[in-house]
């Protein structure tokens, strides 16, 4: 009897102190992404300053090839669209559709990373060759790290929506939305990076 009584007591207490709040997890994520964006802003500022005041030594002019990064830009932009598709499908409770789109997005991310590695192996300069080379690898490498983490997270939520079908659904869409926001952020950073590193 005592156990019954105490459980009732706990329930009563719970309902008393149970408060509902607006979901602020997305707000926290946005704050984190602002912080992360500031890291990139610091790198960009350093790169642009080097470009302005520290010219390369004579005979060390490196032209970057455009085809692979352009392909990579397209890959990331398409992957943003496919990720959006996944979210739409999940909202309509079409779990298997959503999962297909997620796997396709992760696939695009992996292709991006493979292309980037291919580019690295075919560049005529290494990390320590000169200041431009160091900055180039630091910027693209740090972005590649973000893509790697994003791809892993996409695979994780795709896997979550697979098992027993209940982890991700139209009621619990937050994990997908969070990763989607992160992925759009990484895409946006790539567009800025592409413009100032390859086009300027």
């Amino acid at each position: 009897m005592t156990t019954l009584d105490s459980s009732k007591e706990i329930q009563k207490n719970n309902s008393e102190i149970n408060e509902t709040h607006e979901d602020f997890r997305m707000f926290g994520l946005i704050t984190f992404l602002i912080a992360d964006g500031m890291t990139f802003a610091g790198f960009f500022a350093a790169y642009l300053t080097y470009k302005a005041v520290n010219p390369l030594p004579d005979g060390a002019i490196y032209e970057l090839e455009l085809p692979i990064p352009t392909l990579n830009t397209i890959l990331l932009l398409v992957s943003s669209a496919t990720f959006h598709k996944a979210g739409k499908a999940l909202l309509k409770d079409k779990n298997s559709d959503s999962q297909k789109w997620l796997f396709f997005t992760a696939f695009l991310g992996i292709i991006f990373l493979i292309c980037q590695l291919f580019e690295y192996f075919n560049l005529p300069f290494g990390l320590t060759d000169n200041l431009f080379a160091s900055t180039f690898y630091a910027l693209t490498g740090f972005h590649g790290l973000h893509v790697t983490l994003g791809t892993l997270m996409i695979l994780i939520i795709a896997w979550q929506s697979r098992i027993n079908g209940g982890r991700l659904n139209s009621q619990n869409i937050f994990p997908l939305e969070a990763v989607e926001l992160y992925w759009h952020f990484v895409d946006g950073i790539w567009v800025i990076l592409f413009i100032i590193l390859y086009l300027l």
């Binding site: 704050t31 990139f40 500022a45 900055t135």
Partner: protein, 541 residues
């Protein structure tokens, strides 16, 4: 979509150990984490203070007889790093923020309790790692700024551990900042408007904005610096085509706001303490809020005033001089508001009040020398001399650490349910205040006369003033003893405090002391005006 914040389910606090043991556990309770921050920070303060005493003993005589020169540099680096990254920033933000902010917004915990615990538990290991880096071969000796090329050319194993440790502490700081912003903006109890929040909430909101915007830049910079050391890249190495001034820009983009990250929470705390002990509402609440936001905006655009001697172009010097001088405006508003709060109040002379008044006096001193330092010709004259050391310590010790002690005296009854002994407290204040001013005021003279900082040996003509300064430092070291005795005696058998010993009006005093695990037994009380002192009085009239 709404999610339920049910502490019993989300935090499982009922399973946490009770009593003093909970302070040694991975607790998710914001009050426990706050006290953990405070105690951990204070232990590092003792280490950093010991190092400071060693520095002053060395400087009591002109030659380097107590420590060899490179040991002096290592001690100096460790002192600066510990005091900033392990004592002041974690304590004014983490300790008091975690303890007070949920009370002030009417919540039962921070917005992200697990992230909060992660933020705290990054500190002890990285702090120990920093201290341990002193004992490896070649400890960091490039100062807390780690300027290259010095940090690249000096022995490197210690420097790498230093960088790693500061990166982890920066991560802890960012997690804390995200948590504070989310708590203050999103977790306020329904009906509580932003302009009804106590000043400390506004100060922490401003501080957290600075943390989120500037700490990542330091992280990126230190990652590049570690590449320079490990992988032999040349970002900041002039021999390899790099640019040391870029490091300075990026570093000060964090480290100038870091001054406000240390001082803004102190502004908030003193705005909580003064009205209670002067029995008057805070003067000019709205101007206080806007001056905090003004300091945040201006604080982000003045970093290059640390670099007037680094070959900064004249237009840049002009811009940063003017921007820096402008910060004196919001800071001056705050200062006059504090004085106006005291004006005509029923001031009770106790340790918390004394430390707060000491803060105001010291801060005026530090602020005025700060405006002087913002002027290019004067800055070029005293750059890298003891004038800068004196100014900096007036802000950071005379400002922030005085407020940390004031806050400890103010909130100790709430945390423990016991009163602190006022006689010990006043003794602590007198020794600290005399020692502090004896130590740092003469250093203005040293700087004006050209004694460089960060060196173990100096011209014998400066010996007498240096000895006075060393005596002051000794007094500051001694002042810790009555404080520690006071804490230990009062925790064991202090007077019972009751719920609200100061008759304060902010929400944390409306619950029992010490507060229950969920902060309030029932619904959170709604405090319409935290600074409504004298309102009843005027109504009676």
């Amino acid at each position: 979509m709404t999610i339920s914040i049910d502490p019993q389910k989300t935090n499982n606090k009922s399973l946490q150990p009770k009593g003093w043991l909970r302070y040694f556990s991975f607790s998710l309770d914001h009050k426990v984490i706050g006290i953990q921050y405070l105690v951990c920070g204070f232990l590092f303060y003792l280490i950093g203070g010991t190092l400071a005493s060693a520095i002053r003993i060395e400087l009591a005589s002109p030659m380097s007889d107590f420590m060899p020169r490179d040991v002096y540099n290592q001690v100096l680096t460790l002192h600066g790093t510990i005091m900033i990254f392990l004592w002041i920033v974690p304590v004014v933000n983490g300790a008091f923020g975690n303890y007070l902010i949920p009370f002030y917004v009417g919540a039962r915990d921070m917005a992200f309790p697990r992230l909060n615990a992660v933020a705290f538990w990054l500190i002890p290991p990285s702090g120990l790692m920093l201290v341990a880096s002193y004992f490896v071969e070649g400890a960091a000796q490039a100062g807390w700024t780690a300027y290259p090329p010095l940090s690249i050319t000096t022995p490197q194993s210690g420097q790498i551990i230093w960088i790693l440790s500061v990166l982890l502490l920066g991560g802890s700081s960012i997690f804390g900042g995200i948590n504070f912003i989310a708590t203050i903006i999103k977790l306020r109890r329904p009906g509580l408007k932003l302009m009804q929040l106590p000043m400390y909430c506004w100060a922490m909101l401003g501080t957290s904005l600075l943390v989120v915007l500037s700490t990542p830049v330091l992280a990126g910079t230190l990652i590049l610096l570690s590449f320079d050391i490990i992988a032999n890249t040349g970002f900041f190495n002039p021999v390899l085509g790099g640019n040391v001034v870029v490091y300075q820009h990026l570093f000060w983009f964090y480290s100038h706001p870091a001054v406000y990250i240390m001082v803004l929470p102190a502004f908030g705390l003193v705005s909580e303490i003064l009205p209670v002990h002067a029995r008057k509402p805070l003067f000019g609440y709205t101007t206080m809020v806007f001056s905090i936001m003004g300091i945040v905006v201006l604080g982000l655009v003045v970093w290059a005033h640390h670099m007037f001697t680094s070959g900064t172009p004249p237009w840049m010097r002009l811009f940063f001089t003017i921007a820096t001088a402008f910060i004196a405006v919001p800071t001056g508003i705050k200062f006059f508001n504090w004085v106006a709060t005291l004006w005509g109040g029923k001031i009770s002379i106790n340790s918390a009040m004394l430390f707060s008044c000491g803060f105001i006096i010291n801060f005026v001193f530090g602020g005025i020398t700060g405006v002087a330092l913002a002027q290019v010709p004067f800055d070029i004259h005293v750059h890298d001399t003891y004038f800068v050391v004196a100014h900096f310590h007036y802000i950071v010790y005379g400002g922030t650490v005085f407020i940390i002690f004031s806050s400890i005296y103010h909130w100790f009854p709430k945390v423990t349910g016991k009163m602190l002994n006022e006689k010990f407290g006043i003794l602590h204040f007198i020794i600290t205040f005399i020692g502090f001013n004896l130590c740092f005021a003469p250093q203005h003279w040293l700087g004006l006369n050209g004694m460089p900082r960060r060196v173990a040996e100096y011209d014998p003509q400066f010996q007498f003033i240096n000895q006075i300064s060393s005596i002051g430092a000794l007094l500051m070291a001694i002042s810790t003893i009555p404080f520690l005795i006071n804490i230990f005696l009062s925790v064991r058998n202090g007077k019972d405090a009751g719920d609200n010993p100061w008759n304060a009006l902010t929400p944390e005093w409306l619950t029992s002391s010490p507060p229950p695990v969920e902060n309030w037994e029932e619904e959170a009380p709604l405090v319409e005006e935290p600074y409504g002192y004298g309102k009843q009085f005027s109504e009676q009239k």
